[in-house]
């Protein structure tokens, strides 16, 4: 079992580049520990900014720094950075078009038992609704590193959500196909599939498990790792939908305005097919560690496979 959370992969990637590029900055809101950014702060004190528990300040300060030529990465729990500083993200980052990268850590229901104040099941909807804001939910540590490498090369706003806990590897050091803003396909898009499962973030792993279970039952599934929620890889969505009888989306998010909604809109407009969106409920999420919560709501391999079988009947 992998012990490195995606947030640590971000820290390591940024540290590898900060040495050569003194314009890379990490900004934290008393969150360097939970962001796994303490090594960065220790190694690059001149490129680290602490703002205290003040997420609005965090984002506005980053925007001001970016406007003056720096490359700030803001780290704060996804629940706070996506909503407490929502207006700063909208006005100072996206509208003013500053090169700020917002990193939502401990995203989704990572903080399970801490309750709804600490859950970010609205961040995809909120951030996606802002013009000029991109939204990414990488699935494992290798993809996270590739994504950050890519974000370091551009000068546009972006929001990245990662979870708190280590997730099992999907890719590897030597095998991590990655193209910016293109989903990674597991299976065959050109074949005739029964079901296309489109997932993002920590839900990619259970989606792959579901595909395996379905295969054993003789049901053909293709899985798209849609880490790029916005801009959505529409071409892949359409191809996947066309290749299958049924589309299932899986995400660690509220049922409204997330990746599933975006997929449903795309499928509806281009190649109408049944789209089932699997997500957290429109309710306070039950108390528990995230793995137990996912199991409870059927957001695991078995649950997704079961849903596919039911819907294909």
């Amino acid at each position: 079992m992998n012990k490195i959370p995606n947030r640590q992969a971000i820290c390591e990637t940024l540290m590898a580049h900060a040495k050569e590029d003194r314009h890379i900055y990490a900004l934290c809101s008393d969150s360097r520990g939970s962001a796994s950014m303490t090594p960065f702060f220790n190694a690059f004190p001149e490129q680290s900014i602490e703002v205290g528990i003040a997420e609005q300040n965090l984002v506005s300060i980053a925007a001001g720094m970016a406007h003056c030529g720096e490359k700030p990465y803001c780290f704060s729990p996804a629940c706070f950075i996506s909503t407490r500083s929502y207006e700063q993200a909208k006005v100072d980052v996206a509208y003013s078009n500053t090169n700020v990268k917002l990193i939502g850590i401990s995203g989704g229901i990572s903080y399970g038992e801490l309750g709804m104040s600490h859950h970010s099941a609205q961040d995809i909807a909120a951030m996606s609704a802002i013009p000029n804001m991109r939204v990414y939910l990488p699935s494992d540590r290798f993809q996270t590193a590739k994504l950050i490498e890519s974000l370091l090369q551009d000068e546009k706003p972006a929001y990245v959500r990662v979870g708190r806990n280590p997730v099992e590897d999907i890719y590897s050091e030597t095998d991590c196909p990655f193209e910016m803003d293109r989903a990674t396909i597991h299976g065959n898009l050109e074949a005739e599939n029964d079901v296309a499962i489109i997932a993002c973030g920590e839900m990619v792993r259970p989606a792959l498990e579901a595909a395996k279970i379905l295969q054993e039952k003789g049901i053909k599934a293709v899985v798209a790792d849609m880490y790029c929620v916005k801009p959505l890889d529409q071409e892949t969505v359409v191809k996947a939908a066309k290749s299958a009888k049924l589309v299932i989306t899986v995400e660690e998010h509220a049922p409204y305005g997330g990746m599933g909604s975006a997929v449903a809109v795309t499928v509806g407009a281009n190649c109408p097919k049944k789209v089932i969106t699997m997500a957290l409920p429109d309710d306070h999420v039950i108390t528990g560690k995230s793995a137990a919560v996912f199991d409870y709501y059927g957001l695991n391999g078995e649950g997704i496979a079961k849903k596919a079988v039911e819907e294909l009947k």
Binding site: S60, I61, G64, M65, H67, D92
Partner: protein, 284 residues
Amino acid sequence: MKKQEFDAKALTVRSLELRKVVLDMIMKSGGGHIGGDFSVMDTLVTLYFDQMNVSPENQDDPDRDYFIMSKGHSVESYYAVLAAKGFFETETVVNEFSQFGSRFIGHPNNELPGIEMNSGSLGHGLPVSVGMALACRKENRASRVYTVMGDGEVAEGSVWEGFMAAGHYKLANLCAVVDRNRLQISGTTEQVMTHENLHAQIESFGWNVIETDGNDIAKLHEAFEQAKTVTDRPTCIIANTIKGYGGGEIMENKAAWHHHVPNQEEYDQIVKALEAKKEGVLHE
């Protein structure tokens, strides 16, 4: 950039003339925030024509001075000053302000030359300025960073996050101005949310605070010069102003003129008041 000799009289005349541009903008578009425009105009004129190293020629130079119009609703005065500074034509902004499809939106946006950051939602300018000042210090630039807030605006919590961080980081290259006209849309600032202790409050966040007459360009000049001599703290200038200043009795110090659009009769009266004031300055 060669520094022009400070001429309070010439700048005061210019400031009165630019209020007329604001008035025309608002008459033509049928909307705007004239009261705050008139109160803040002297601050903007002092910054752009006396203090700041920024012009169309050096607007991309990283070593320029930076300005954020945090009280973005006073955009008409900002546009008038930027036009006078040569960033765009005065005639264009008067004709196009708030018209359908116009670039001259009712709050500042940085697709226009001369505007650093978009504003309009209050309480953003100071924290963004903190980021700019931090970056300029990191880059060893001589740049100074200025922002102008309204006094109603300081009720926003994010303003105090900005005060706190600027004090913590001792950003001596940052100068904030509070346009203290004591009126906001619902009434006096003291009725709406009191700021009687503003001076002490800001000071307690580790700032150098200067109170001055914000409708007296000579005094503003003095305050900005003093701010530059402070090397261990940011400076906040509380510019005591009169809302609607220069527009005469009908609009000065009246909350209703926060965003009132004058009718023709009122327009004529304001033009007359501005002219009279200008004559007075010229013959001092």
